[in-house]
Every structure is written in C-alpha cells, then in structure tokens.
Amino acid sequence: MDSASEQQLTRLLMRLLHGELPPERAREFERRIARDGEVAALYQRLRERWAALELPPAMPVPEGFRAAVVAAVRRERDGELSWSLAPTWARAAAAVALTLGLILGASFSRIGEPQGEPEAFLVSEPLTLAESYWLTLEEGGNQLLEGGEETQ
C-alpha cells in the first residue's frame, strides 16, 4: 500500500472509529477489516492509540461557583463594575488612562520648580537610630573639644 492510499485509509478508519461513517459505509469497512489482516492491524493500532489517550475525570463543580457567577452578573447588571471580571478592553483602557494621568501629573508638577541649585532639593536618607546616636555623640564631643557647651 503506498503512502497516499494508506493516509486515505487511515482517515476512513478514524471516521469509522469515531462513528462518523454512514451506516452502510461502516458495514462495508467492517467487512473489509474482517477479511484483510493489514487493514485490521492498522485499525487495531488506531484503536489502541485512541484509547491510550487518558486524562483524569473532570473536576466536580466547585462549591459556590454558580452563586459567584450569578452574583457577578447581578453586580454587572446593576451597574457595579467588578474590575476583576471586567472585559479586557475595559481594564486596558483604565490602565492606559491611569498611565496617561500619571505622566501628565508628573509633567505638571514640574512647572514652577526652582531651576537653580538642584542639590538644594536633594533629601538626605533618613538616619537610623544608631546613626543619630553616633552623630549626637560626635557633635557633643566636637563642642567639648571646641570648648562649647555640651549639647543635650
């Protein structure tokens, strides 16, 4: 049997296996399978491969699933938009609007900023408790060395 006719035969056998052949055609094929060992072997292999495909049984409907879906629909119908269930386009539009808002907000906030001495706006990192302690000690020490009053 050449490759093209084997392909054609396989397709027909798959149709037979899946119950897709009209009854008359199916009976005709079953007769052919009964008398032709090669066709019978091919059909057997197809059946085995098809049967070997196994997946676990479908999960049962989780508790509260229906109630959650119906509640979400009710909220939507009543005009309360549930963002977690909103259509993708709506969420995308909201994200774009938010981004644009942030960009515009950042641009406007720069208007009126002093132009010179940018370092004046640098905020130093907040000191940790230990750093404050050592700084106080150092300042006190310096003042003592310089003969000033001890800082409290």
Binding site: Q7, M14, E20, A52, L55
Partner: protein, 201 residues
C-alpha cells in the same frame, strides 16, 4: 462519537438565552446550571490547570451573559458557549506563552510538571490500589505532555473529539472550520502523537 444533531429550533436553551439577553439573571442561573460542568471540564482540559479553569469558566459565562443579545441561532446554544470557551482558553494559552517567553521559560509548564508540580485537580483513580493509581497518574501525565506538544488547532480538535465527545460536525461549528478540516487536524494530531510515542518507547 457522533452526537444527535439538533437544529437551533429544537434547542431547549434557546428560550433561556432569549430571556438572558433581556437581562434576566434567574434565567442566566438556569443556563449556568445546565452547562457549568461541561464548560469547566472543557476549560480544565484545554488549560490543564484546575484553578485557572475555574476562573476561565467564570469569565466565559460572564462573556455569554454580555453577548447573549448578539446571539444568532445558527446551531445549538451549547455550541456557541463552547466556541466562546475555546477562544477564551486559546487567548489564555497565548497569554501564558507570552508570560513564559518574557520570564525566559522559568515558569513551569503544567504538562511538564513533575510529581511535586502536579496540577491542582488530579483525583484518585481505579480504587484504593496504589499501583493502579500511580499507573493512571502516569498515563494522564503522558497524555498531557503529548497534547501539549500539538499545535493549538490540532490540540483543540483532539480535545473536543476525544474528551468532549463532540461529532466532527459539532467541532466544525465550535471552531468555525469545515468538517474536512476537522478530519485533517485529527489525522495530523494522531500522526504526531504516534511519532512522539514511538520516539519515547
């Protein structure tokens, strides 16, 4: 596998969906009750993660509520729901792929999970025999790994055919492709799976 093909006119969900389109939440609850199990199972099989599947199924049902007004009866309502679910899961898988790419593949792939990284829901199987349970878990993991290697189009067709039991016609409706495309994708999926199995055997 071929399911009984019904037209939209004898679909019991059609009237329910019409009421949902008018904002009737009670009818929506009925629709959820009728399809939550199948949608959860589909999301779980596509995403291979119980937690994510629950979120996805919830989002799918909310989308269905929002889109109910635009539903045009061409097929069954559940086919329409499946289509929303398949597309939604595909988007989630794409997003997951992007996240994985951005994080340089550091995230675990559920299909590659080891014993300690098993998906959240993996029930015990085949009674109390620990060996049988272990064998089942191995087969499930193997199938996940194999399915994970398939391109999305083939993977979805295979999941809908094998695990959802949909006919070629229904799969074609859900995926928006022809029946012969369904057949081709299934054939190619099976060929790839066979090659992958032969490599590891």
């Amino acid at each position: 596998m071929a399911d009984r093909v019904q037209g939209p006119e004898d679909d019991p969900d059609r009237g329910i969906l019409e009421r949902v389109a008018q904002g009737d939440v009670e009818s929506f609850a009925v629709l959820v009750a009728r399809h939550e199990q199948r949608l959860l199972a589909l999301c779980q099989r596509m995403l291979q993660d119980a937690e994510e599947a629950r979120d996805a199924a919830q989002e799918v049902l909310l989308k269905a509520f929002r889109k109910a007004g635009s539903y045009r009866p061409k097929g069954q309502v559940y086919t329409w729901l499946y289509r929303i679910a398949v597309n939604h899961c595909l988007n989630r898988l794409r997003r997951r792929k992007i996240v994985r790419f951005v994080s340089f593949g550091e995230l675990d792939r559920p299909g590659e999970a080891g014993e300690e990284n098993a998906p959240a829901y993996e029930p015990s199987a085949e009674g109390p025999d620990p060996e049988a349970q272990l064998a089942s878990r191995r087969r499930w993991r193997r199938t996940r790994e194999l399915i994970d290697q398939l391109p999305p189009g083939q993977r979805n067709v295979l999941i809908l055919a094998k695990f959802e039991g949909l006919s070629y016609r229904r799969i074609a409706e859900v995926m928006g492709i022809t029946e012969s495309a369904v057949e081709s994708r299934l054939f190619r999926a099976m060929r790839r799976l066979t090659e992958a199995q032969e490599k590891t055997d």
